[in-house]
Amino acid sequence: MGGVIRGLLPFAVAVPVLAALQVLTADAPFLVILSLTVGVNIVLAVSLNIVNGMTGQFSIGHAGFMAVGAYVGGVLSKVTSEYGISFLPEVVSDQVLFALSLVVGGAVAALFGFVVGLPSLRLKGDYLAIVTLGFGEIIRVVVQNTELFGKALGLSGVPARTTLFSCWLVVVVVVVVAKRIHDSSHGRALLAIREDEIAAEAMGVNTTAYKVRSFVVASFFAGVAGGVFAHYQSIVAPSSFTYVKSMEVVVMIVAGGLGSTTGAIVAAVFLTLLPEGLRSVLLAVTGDGALAQKVEQIRMPLYGLLLVVLMLLRPQGLFGTRELWDMGPFRKKRAPSPPSPLSSSASPGAAPEVVR
């Protein structure tokens, strides 16, 4: 039992901290909105990192799973918005229903992840990328043409139930899950698949099962992130889940260092706040708001430029595969070996065909 208590420790710490933050930010709505955007992006980046970073597969359709969670959760909340759980006060009952719709949205996304992943994770490298890309687009087009989901106009009237507390609690959950997967024997199996799939298979690792599982976990959290997103936007439009959104998440984890959860977090925070910072800077420099209003358009080439610079200067990403908690004062008992001057040339997923 002691283990379970230790297992829940991060939440015991996070809950009061987040509750306090929620109270403190009560009269700073802009800050809250910003923190929600950041939170959703962290959840997306950390979950995608389980597939792309730890397992070494290359999925670029994360926005598709996010859309599934957003629409399913959104519809569910809309339907249940008139109801309440009788023995609970209205606020609490709302939050319970909200949590339920997040979980259901996540579960449906996970189911999609399973259905998409099972056949396509047998493919290697680029092929998986193409399948996931296609999946993301299919979801968006289907949603765009379904009456239930509001067609191209989007699903409006989703009750605004996301709070700073609930959003960041999800962030804590996904980070804890990612770390624990990484540190367990399952994580080691995933890393082994990333390093050398043929060798992993030869050492008794059921590579297909592990790949599908990591994909399902990532899809689940993408769905939950979608649900969180739907419940603070109040309107869910298909345009939020385009290919660009998927690429944004990929950029985050590549910039942070594929395989590093903390890298994904840092990059997600930075890249989400970048447009805001840019807006303030442009406003200050030019004086009028003309350029500052175009930040959304300026953002994308800037991302591209940033990636090019990063790949030239630090191809392994900000953190490489290392974690913040493995460095400095957080270091584990065994000191990590000094990084080799040769940077890794391993290309994830591209296993040679001939086994020698």
Binding site: R180, S184, A192, D196, E201, M203, N206, A346
Partner: protein
């Protein structure tokens, strides 16, 4: 008792017969060699045995279980572990983690309802479906235990770590536990591969050119080590090797392949004198050249 039996296995790639009518029998305590010139089909034979390739015809039987059509990880669970000719370690992981990966499901305690002993028992009775279900379910529960850090999970992890460290120690790599695999010297990388293979608790160990790239001293040590492993872990060992001195030195029986055909089987002395073997390695006395 025969642990690994290959019965007339043939592997055909389109028009090319990479291996034809290959038969082999490895029992516990055996130390056998598989030799042949380049391109003779030795590694193909390994790949057929370990499930990387599905033989075109013939059968591979591990500990009484027919392996045709099984995936490599299933063959591994049945008791066949291998190393690779061109080292395939998990380069970015530490030496210890390399071994721990291979420990995976092997280390559920015997008291667990999902223990390896129990799963193997079911399998031996021929009840593959329940064995598979039990294994998969245990694996699934392990995920949740890992997520909640239950005490049972931590005990398992501690057990895995202890076992992995012991195996590193057996292969003389204990001092390298925290080192990334790619930073190890070549000879140690080869030994780490063997440690990793041992971690899957194999019945038969297949070594693909274990001494390649080693110097004479390392080779001599390796010979002693392989013999010791066979005795200590009650294994059958089959090795592919180019170094004739090593093969002739430790193998009790040798199978010689050439162009996918088995051209000789016997003790080192028999094989050494076999005219076909001499022909394959050194060529024919220049009859064709004169013609």
């Amino acid at each position: 008792m025969s642990l690994l039996k290959v019965h007339r296995a043939t592997m055909q790639f389109g028009g090319l017969k990479a291996l034809s009518d290959f038969s082999l029998d490895v029992a516990q305590g055996d130390l056998q060699g598989l030799i042949g010139p380049n391109g003779a089909g030795k590694t193909t034979a390994f790949n057929v045995m370990t499930g990387v390739y599905r033989p075109t015809s013939g059968a591979v039987v591990v500990d009484g279980e027919r392996m045709n059509g099984r995936l490599p990880h299933q063959v591994n669970r049945a008791g066949l572990a291998r190393t690779f000719q061109n080292i395939r370690l998990f380069k970015e992981l530490t030496a210890l983690d390399n071994v721990k990966v291979a420990c995976l499901a092997d280390d559920r305690p015997p008291s667990s309802p999902f223990s390896r002993a129990r799963i193997d028992g079911l399998r031996r009775q021929g009840r593959f479906a329940p064995a598979h279900a039990l294994d998969a379910w245990g694996n699934y529960l392990d995920w949740w235990r890992a997520l909640f850090l239950t005490s049972g999970y931590r005990a398992d992890e501690a057990h895995i770590e202890e076992r992995a460290l012991r195996l590193l120690d057996v292969m003389g790599l204990a001092h390298r536990a925290g080192e990334q695999a790619r930073n190890l010297p070549y000879g140690e990388q080869r030994r780490l591969e063997i440690a990793r293979a041992l971690a899957t608790s194999p019945k038969v160990l297949l070594l693909d050119e274990p001494a390649a790239g080693m110097n004479t001293k390392e080779k001599a040590e390796l010979m002693v080590q392989i013999r010791r492993l066979r005795d200590e872990f009650a294994l059958g060992v089959l090795l592919i090797e180019h170094d004739m001195k090593l093969v002739m030195g430790i193998c009790e029986q040798i199978t010689v392949l050439d162009h996918g055909e088995t051209i000789a089987v016997g003790t080192p002395d028999q094989v050494k004198k076999d005219p076909k073997v001499i022909e394959a390695y050194l060529g024919v006395e220049s009859k064709e050249l004169q013609a």
